[in-house]
């Protein structure tokens, strides 16, 4: 028998922690079951390390450092950025399927729904960092600045992933079409990564591009990660990167929450 009007009105709503945790668990489950998500979290990061090392590694010469040591800190950001594009896809899918309507009918905040996705992404990104460091180590990558700096690098990469997640959720809620959201999420990361110091030193680029590459936040991020992995002064690049990330979050979080409240099915 169904109990209809049971103690429903008296029940306390789920705490923000419980609701965020529940949404996080849902998204983590999906990551282990949706084939695209599995591939993006496992095969793709390893492929990126191998492809760039062996295809570009012979052509690019960075003074005083092996290419894998130069490449790996930055390319982690590329892998995380690629993975984050699926976050926009998933949000657009949730919007199209009515899942977001369902969530909005529940006594939980929109922040919990979005933060639950960011938290799940962070767990995945931590896995991606470990996986890429492992794959890199197998072909010669080494941390040269000690375990503390290595852990800081991993934390910074995951923090960058959080920014990508918020950005892509916002894109997904704006674009509303899953395929379009995927493309919209890939463009910025591809353009910004390839015009940064992530894959090749800025000095090898034509002059006009160098100016852009130096101003590109991804260059700063790659530089900060590289300093943490290879050694050298870290305080300034890390603080600059954190400032960039905080700046983008200050815009994307309120915008995404506001879009979540008002977004309707495409």
């Amino acid at each position: 028998m169904i109990t209809a009007a049971a103690p429903a009105p008296q029940r306390a709503p789920a705490s923000v922690l419980t609701s965020t945790g529940t949404i996080t668990a849902r998204n983590l489950r999906r990551m282990t079951r949706v084939p695209t998500l599995i591939a993006l979290a496992t095969i793709q990061p390893v492929l990126l390390v191998l492809l760039f090392t062996y295809a570009f590694g012979g052509a690019v010469h960075v003074p005083g450092v092996t290419y894998i040591d130069y490449l790996l800190p930055g390319i982690v950001v590329l892998a995380i950025g690629f993975g984050a594009s699926q976050t926009g896809v998933a949000v657009a899918e949730d919007l199209a399927s009515g899942m977001i309507d369902r969530f909005r009918s529940l006594p939980i905040t929109g922040t919990a729904v979005l933060a639950g996705r960011v938290a799940a992404d962070a767990v995945r990104n931590l896995g991606v960092v470990v996986l890429m460091a492992g794959a890199g180590s197998a072909i010669g990558f080494r941390f040269h600045a000690g375990p503390g700096a290595a852990l800081t690098a991993a934390a910074l990469a995951v923090a960058a992933g959080t920014v990508f997640s918020w950005l892509n959720m916002l894109l997904g809620l704006l674009v509303r079409n899953p395929e379009a959201a995927g493309l919209a999420g890939l463009f910025p990361i591809i353009i910004l990564t390839f015009t940064s110091s992530t894959l090749v030193p800025v000095a090898t680029m034509p002059g006009w591009l160098q100016a852009f590459a130096r101003a590109n936040p991804v260059t700063g991020m790659a530089g900060a990660l590289r300093a943490l992995c290879l050694g050298g002064p870290t305080a300034r690049p890390v603080i600059e990167t954190l400032a960039w990330l905080a700046g983008i979050l200050a815009v994307t979080i309120p915008a995404a929450i506001s879009r979540y409240r008002h977004a309707t099915t495409a």
């Binding site: 169904i2 109990t3 009007a5 029940r11 419980t18 668990a25 849902r26 489950r29 399927s97 369902r102």
Partner: protein
């Protein structure tokens, strides 16, 4: 407010990559149920909606009807005081539809209010205590099912010709007898005439049939279905303009953009 309501939209808003049970436990947790309570409630609803055997399969393996039932179950998790349903029987097979209607009947008997929109007039007739008929964005009628049926012109006279015969001549013989346009169904060989006062019309009917000398297989007098009432109300025929439709056309379905909304209160 969101603690008091349940929602089941037109499209089954369940996560296809979670199992039926995981979907319902997630909704329960988001409603503030404890872990055990959420599992209990999920099991109870899966059992009640005939999904217990598929409970631990991912929802993407479900048939359309199973997904719909899971979606309705998701709306019931919190034992809501008011349940909003948008075309709940869409895509259900007859068995599933009857089971759902029975369940909704039990819920309203226990004090849950139901607000549902439907194009299936049979559903409205069966479940609703109060109906609001909308057509082309305007309120057409509201009231109990019997009030609405009464407004569309009393009873329905049904005359069926022998199999294979054209019902057209009978329709012409009965022209002007009813209170509205008659509906001719060439496939079943049936002429349906709305009549204000059924029993009073029978002598005139007998006289006309005798005079026309047309063979008739069956004569029946009945209350109108809600669908007939709906069609009569949305078409707004003027009195005396009753013209039989061409033989062979079936009057089924509702005019574009029209849909009745209905409500049941305890």
């Amino acid at each position: 407010m969101r603690r008091l309501i349940g929602l089941s939209g037109q499209y089954a808003a369940v996560d296809p990559f979670l199992t039926g049970r995981e979907n319902l436990v997630m909704i329960g947790r988001l409603h503030g149920l404890g872990c055990r309570a959420a599992h209990c409630r999920a099991g109870e609803l899966l059992n009640r909606l005939g999904l217990i055997e598929a409970a631990d399969r991912q929802a993407r393996t479900y048939s359309g009807g199973m997904r719909r039932r899971l979606d309705v179950a998701a709306g019931l998790v919190a034992a809501p005081l008011v349940l909003f349903l948008d075309e709940p029987a869409t895509g259900l097979d007859p068995e599933g539809r009857l089971a759902l209607w029975q369940l909704l009947g039990e819920l309203t008997a226990q004090g849950t209010s139901l607000l549902l929109t439907t194009q299936y007039l049979e559903e409205a007739d069966r479940l609703a205590t109060s109906i609001v008929v909308l057509g082309h964005g305007r309120l057409i009628a509201s009231g109990t099912p019997s009030q609405i049926k009464a407004r569309s012109g009393g009873d329905r006279l049904e005359v069926t010709v022998p199999p294979g015969d054209d019902p057209g001549p009978v329709a012409r013989a009965l022209a002007g007898l009813g209170a509205g346009p008659s509906v001719v169904d060439g496939v079943t060989g049936r002429v349906v005439v709305p009549v204000a006062d059924g029993p009073a019309i029978l002598p005139e009917l007998a006289a006309r049939l005798a005079a026309s000398n047309l063979p008739v297989a069956e004569v029946a007098l009945r209350r109108p279905t809600l669908e007939e009432a709906f069609l009569a109300l949305t078409r707004q025929p003027g009195p005396g303009t009753a013209l039989p439709e061409p033989a062979g056309s079936r009057s089924a379905g509702s005019p574009g953009g029209a849909g009745p909304a209905k409500r049941r209160s305890p």
